[in-house]
């Protein structure tokens, strides 16, 4: 009785190890389930096929690179987003960039491209302005002849300063012709990039407000007069 119970308590199933060969395994299923209905045998074989296929796929995938899914931690994400916003506000990017650019201008990393009248020079040159005005006029006429007429507004603005500074620098270096040629070349290239800008008003909001529209109109009006003078 005791042994009987023990036997009954065991699994009423028998485990058969199928062969590694797919076709032989299918045959073995058929042999082992010989008196079972056809439908059940078919379903068994289908299940077996599914299992072998996904085992094959697993083995293939482990050889390739596997994408590791890292769960996003919500609290951390929220915290980082909020901190990023605050950091953006604290950064004041536009001001920082503008400051850095002006610093670089002051430290002369741009060399001779931008010739702005520096205040010290301004005050020193105000006396010499009267004297050099005739010279600068002559230079301006020469340059008008040589350069292209693509973008005159900016050119006028730059040249006025050019003449002042070049006078000063002449006294030091005595290299007028080479400097002027360099400046002309760079101006031509600068004009190429300026002409791209010319049609639209792409500068940012505050810059657009402060950009003197008046200046452009004024210069265009005077431009034909200088041209006729040169001609």
């Amino acid at each position: 009785m005791h042994s009987d119970d023990h036997q009954n308590a065991e699994f009423l199933q028998e485990r058969v190890l199928l062969s590694k060969n797919y076709e032989k395994a299918l045959e073995e299923i058929d042999e082992n389930l010989i008196y079972w209905p056809r439908f059940i045998r078919h379903k068994c074989k289908q299940r077996f096929t599914k299992i072998t296929q996904y085992l094959i796929r697993i083995r293939k995938l482990t050889l390739k690179r596997q994408r590791k899914l890292v769960p996003l931690r919500r609290k951390i994400e929220r915290r980082e987003n909020r901190r990023e916003e605050k950091a953006l506000i604290a950064a004041q990017l536009d001001n920082a960039i503008e400051k850095e650019l002006l610093e670089r201008l002051k430290q002369d990393t741009y060399g001779d491209i931008y010739n702005f009248p520096i205040h010290a020079f301004d005050k020193a040159l105000q006396q010499q302005d009267a004297e050099s005005e005739s010279d600068s006029d002559a230079e301006r006429e020469e340059d008008d002849d040589d350069d292209d007429d693509e973008d005159v507004d900016k050119r006028e603005f730059v040249e006025a300063e050019d003449s002042e500074l070049s006078d000063f620098e002449d006294m030091d270096k005595l290299e007028t012709s080479s400097e002027e040629e360099q400046e002309e070349e760079e101006e031509v290239e600068k004009k190429a990039s300026y002409s791209k800008w010319k049609g639209k008003t792409p500068l940012k909001g505050p810059a657009r407000r402060k950009r003197p529209y008046i200046e452009i109109e004024y210069e265009e009006e005077t431009e034909p007069s200088t041209k006729t003078k040169a001609a």
Binding site: K64, R65, R67, R73, I76, E80, N81, R83, E84, K86, A87, L88, A90, A91, L93, D94, A96, I97, E98, E100, L101, L102, R104, L105, Y110, G111, I113, Y114, F116, P117, I118, H119, E186, E189, K190, S193, K196, W197, P202, L203, K204, G205, A207, K210, R211
Partner: protein
């Protein structure tokens, strides 16, 4: 009913307008009213009172300042995180010799000695979606001498030797998740450090308001702000090594990496000097922010790499 001793309890909702100075018995607090509507009303009234008091205080202080005139004490500087930060010992001193020596002999030395020209390979993770692809293209226009290649399931381990063979100096991999780019791996090639960033707020060119025309082919300048500590210094050098040495000032383009509270903001602008004290900038090009997650010593190797630095949240194992 001990807590509910308020002198003027309103009927429903609206109630009488708040008197000038509400008298509360000393043991009263707004949170002790059980009725939500009444509690809400009392709280609003309390808030209004607080605001009035604050305004009155401000006015009084301002009057005192004006009255004192020149003798007034200087205005207090508001405390910000930048003000209150504990001084970081790893801040690099510009004259530090040890740092200078390190930098002369580290992996970027050939770049900074102008022996190598940067050549960059930009790629993505598998199967990039439209946004990532467009972002890669725009990034390629921003960084000169860079090429975009599709991944197509190739393993990074195998790409890297090929890149080295073809003389690439840097590899950028943009990781994508759910159709938006969210990670960036920047690896300096001939065995250089690999930095893994988390990328956020990516804006493509068309999403930037008031932008200008496309970035031209000129080599932009580079601005690196606030990379002060040792770690910041090495990351800053990594970014600097992406761009060629000779910026073409004619192009008037500048790429900025601004580090603020461990977030690196990337912007790409075109500038114009309107006078010697004023410059106008116009944003072109994509923008994104990066947060460093880890810095590895060698090239990309997630399993066996030697990590120089890992962010706390990334390294926590559960």
């Amino acid at each position: 009913m001990a807590g509910e001793g308020s002198g003027t309890v309103p009927g429903d909702g609206a109630g009488p307008p708040a008197p000038e100075r509400v008298l509360f018995p000393p043991t009263f607090s707004v949170s002790e009213i059980k009725n939500k509507q009444r509690r809400h009303f009392m709280f609003l009234r309390w808030k209004q009172q607080q605001r009035k008091e604050k305004l009155a205080l401000k006015k009084k202080r301002r009057k005192e300042r004006e009255a004192l005139g020149d003798k007034a004490p200087p205005k207090a500087i508001p405390k910000t995180i930048e003000n209150q930060r504990v001084y970081d010992e790893t801040t690099v001193d510009p004259n530090d010799e040890e740092v200078a020596f390190d930098e002369a002999t580290d992996e970027f030395a050939p770049y900074f000695n102008r022996q190598t020209v940067p050549k960059i390979l930009i790629t993505t993770s598998d199967r990039p979606r439209g946004r990532t692809v467009r972002f890669c293209e725009q990034l390629a226009t921003v960084i000169p001498n860079s090429h975009v290649y599709y991944r197509r399931g190739l393993a990074l381990k195998r790409i890297i030797p090929q890149c080295i063979a073809r003389d690439f100096t840097d590899l950028i991999v943009i990781n994508e998740d759910r159709k938006i780019p969210n990670g960036l791996v920047l690896s300096h090639l001939p065995d250089g450090p690999t930095a893994h960033f988390r990328m956020s707020s990516v804006r493509l060119r068309k999403e930037i308001k008031r932008k200008g025309k496309e970035p031209t082919e000129h080599v932009p300048e580079v601005i690196l702000n606030n990379f002060t500590t040792r770690l910041g210094h090495s990351i800053g050098r990594m970014f600097a090594a992406l761009f060629p040495h000779n910026p073409q000032f004619i192009g008037r383009q500048v790429a900025t990496f601004h580090n603020q509270r461990d977030y690196i903001f990337f912007r790409f602008h075109r500038y114009i000097f309107k006078s010697e004290k004023k410059v106008g900038i116009q944003e072109l090009g994509p923008r994104f922010t990066l947060k460093l997650r880890s810095l590895q010593k060698g090239t990309f190797d997630s399993k066996f790499g030697e990590y120089e630095w890992i962010h706390k949240t990334s390294s926590v194992t559960q």
